[in-house]
Amino acid sequence: MTTEVVDMITVVVDGFEVSVPKGTLVIRAAEQLGIQIPRFCDHPLLDPVGACRQCLVDIEINGRAFPKPQASCTIPVEPGMIVKTQLTSPVAEKAQRGVMELLLINHPLDCPVCDKGGECPLQNQAMSNGQGETRFEGVKRTFQKPINISSQVLLDRERCVLCARCTRFSEQIASDPFITLNERGALQQVGIYENKPFESYFSGNTVQICPVGALTGAAYRFRARPFDLVSTPSACEHCASGCDMRTDVRRGKTLRRLAGDDSTVNEEWNCDKGRWAFKYVTSVDRLTTPMVRNASGELVAASWPEALAAAAKGLKASKAAVLVGGRATYEDAYGYSKFARVALGTNDIDFRSRLSSNEEREFLAARVVGSTTTYLDIDRADHVLLVGFEPEEESPIVFLRLNKQVRKRALKVTAIATKLSIGVEKLKGEFIKVAPGAEAAAIASQSLTSKSVILVGERGAESAGVLSAVGALADSSSAKIAWIPRRAGERGALEAGAIGNVLPGGRPVTDASARVDIAAVWGTDSLPSAEGKSTQEIYAAVNAGEIGALVVGGVDPLDGENSQSALAALEKAFVVSLEIASSTVTQHADVVLPVAAVTEKSGSFLNWEGRPRSFDAAVQDSLNRSDLRILSMIAEEMGTSINLGTVTAAIKEIASLGKWDGARASMSKVSAPAQPSVSGDQFILTSWRRLLDLGTLQQGEENLAGTARATVAVISPKRAGALGVVDGDKLKISTSLGSVTLSALVEDIHDDALWAPRNSRGSQLLVNLGVAHGAVVSVVKI
């Protein structure tokens, strides 16, 4: 991808020539030849440290030999360099054998009970580069056996070889220096400050890169041997970052998930949610059979033909609409999109089961669909502007990428936000403090260049005028826009046309030639031409009696701004629910159709970049069907085939659509409304979801939940002073709908604002208060 000219340097390793880019370390030049130099502290994504001394090799440059073996992980290649590894230098071989022996003198050699056994770099390299027997007959260093350094991560200091990969990761990659090397010499050990656990959103990476069994995750401890696991490459379904993953399954059950290696996206990292939140798949209330509501109003198990017939009948009986959540795969979303248009004859479909606006819908059609901003643009940006987006909480790999550039070249990051977040602080970002609702004006006053990138989150939809302002700023500066939703399926759903104003590929529904394009591929005479309704409009139309039936897939009605309207609509309409587990929708559904979880099917997500993240079924023998397959069966039953029996069929059909080269939808400018003025006990509420919270996909993971950030209500020092509030005081926050009571935290936040987590333990704002951002709430110290 890179356009810079790369200087190549040729060196000789063990008699073989290899040409590598200037700056390449000797250890990696050797890898190019397939020569594996043993190592522990070395990690390609961490700064070289040269601590373990396992990778010593003999080096000479233009005939001048280093007097002693050198750490090949710290020395870049140079012209005229001749390297002799353990394969050709007896000195290097003895040096490596000596270091290995020393590494093992204080190691407990408890491989038979160690989780790392079988996939342990220490074990493997002791076999390949060590000697069979130790000469050490003395007393080993002992420590208390594993100690919890968080509810999720355990540390066994006896096994540790002090390579400092974990501490360097925490400092250099995550900027969470909560684990450090403590003490000195032979007593040096990894540790935490006793009152502050290792609560980093990225802590799991340290477990993965630990080259011994010193760091283990509570969830996987003592569960399996690596050779009993079947590994499948997968993609993370938790957010739109798009992590490459590996899912390890034993006898049909996922036992762990690891970060995969994709240098363009997540490099080799992921977040703890992606790593450890997977038990929801096997949660107890998983739906296993279709169900149909009988005459007496009870949901009873039904056969597939029975359920499909009931669904088809109900959907044909009245005007129907489709609500599909943001977690659908690209192919499933495509299925919903086609099903709405072909089987139901409507554009009333929306994937946004969250706070949203019509301004956003126009923005997505005009600016986002088909856009090509990528991680590489972040790497090359001169300035990144964050709008309605907290990368660490809402797209953690974007945070890591920003952090990498901040650390590497002091990338300028500016956040327009109501509250200074931990993540923005770590990015050393410029914090432009605004009142909730007043974001648009601040955006307008930014000056960017054509090398700048605007990262706007889904919360951009929560303040009127923000997305219009983002569009205007991009136009005036030529900066790139990237829209980063939280959920993994939203970008794919947009591209698939699972929204009322565009068809697949960003084709405007109001554009006749666009409709012709799609109708031709779909084999229908025509497609509906009026823009469809949004999620909220669909619920309203049901309640007004204009729509009588709903197809609902993966939606939590409580995620929206008006959950009472949503619940009323679900109760009133004929509801066909496609779900993996029993939910609020199930309670109101007339037909329930169980679907496959992401580990049980193949497919892809489009991450925020629009980059396909495809995956195969990790659990091979699941009987569960994808949404796509079930929608096809319903359509068949309705007599309007959509011909999408398999993921492959969907992929082929999407490919056959080709690119849309017609006009994009345009966007009308929305202005920000006047700000409310607040005083006394009134605040304007602001919130976002934390990475670790009460999200549906985190169910059943108590160890993970234990590392979540504390639930607090944040107000400014000035307002706290006026109310006589100090940290830890209890604040009761109320709207007409209800209240929550939270501990106060006085921090850097706009004076008008009160921040609380949107969906954390004790603070489920949409449920408890009915609002989440921009609404006036009253606050009482109790």
């Binding site: 373990c52 073996p69 000195r184």
Partner: protein, 426 residues
Amino acid sequence: MTKLTPVLSAHWDEKDSFTIEGYKRHGGYTASAKALAMDPDAIIQLVKDSGLRGRGGAGFPTGMKWGFIPQGDNREHYLVVNADESEPGTCKDTPLLMANPHVLIEGCIIACHAIRAKHAFIYIRGEVTHVVRRVNQAIEDAYKAGLLGNGIDVVLHIGAGAYICGEETALLDSLEGFRGQPRLRPPFPAIAGLYARPTVVNNVESIASVPAIIANGAEWYQSMGTEKSKGATLYSLSGHVNNPGQFEAPLGITLREILELSGGIRTGHTLKFWTPGGSSTPLFTAEHLDVPLDYEGVSAAGSMLGTKALQIFDETTCVVRAVLRWTEFYKHESCGKCTPCREGTWWLVQLLRDLEAGKGTEADLAKLLDLCDNIMGRSFCALGDGATSPITSSIKYFRDEYIAHITHGGCPFDPVASTLFAGAGA
């Protein structure tokens, strides 16, 4: 017979030698005044011409080190003085700073001017409260006198007990507020030292030697010492001698000469072994009494001049006990960063304890030497190398004594006989 040449120590016998008045009485701060009027490059050249080499152990030419600092780079430069004197046997900088801290401050002013630094840091070990007081007061008085604060600032940084911080890159990490563990080189401090800025790190004695060189000229300095080891230096004599102490002499003086001048080995005893420059320098024996104590002479005889810490041990001393104790020191002071030093010293101590207690075997000696071979040149910094020096050199000269512990089933020496108060009924 080589004559002693007190320069640094010339006025230590005056009660107020550590005060600014005492220092100025003998021309103190005239060299810095002279230097500040000179072109910085001319100072660097003068120091190069003098032949002054680093007095902290490695002997790198001081002027050359200064010359490595990039000029005209529009970045901050720093001078860092290594006053973390901790090498066992080494005890020259500490009495120097107690008796005359101003000579170091004057040296700092000159060196800062030469390398275009506005800031000097003196990193002093923390285990010498009164020396800290003296240096701190001297800095304060130099500010009051207008000698500091006019473009050159000196900050005293006080350590907290870590031998490794004498290693220059560990010192820099420590000064930046981190654990004092050595850094990868390159980049070298001259390019990216303190706060990643060009930095000169010099020993106290090196910097303190500069004012006299400026005042008296390169030729004067050159006139002392040997061909490649110019000037005078402090030799620190300790141990089983009648009169221990500091001896400032031209480089190249021998131990025999120093012993003759000072009153010799403890009366009634004979020299058994000694260190030429601290515990990290391979041991010498009586056969090395005439080795010229300059960089080349000591090196040619198989050791290192180091810090010129002449620790003398007579025939009452058990070399195994001595070496074990040093090895325990290295284990205690190993920073923990690299495997060979961290784990190696852990193992060495256990082997030596067994050997001293008579529980070892001859095979253990071979193991000990092989282990040293796996540490020497394999560790991250010189601490690991230093840890092996006393072991390998003592086995070279006193293998029989190790064997005697094995055959005797324990240490054949009486520890009381080697104490200072032996026979005094201690």
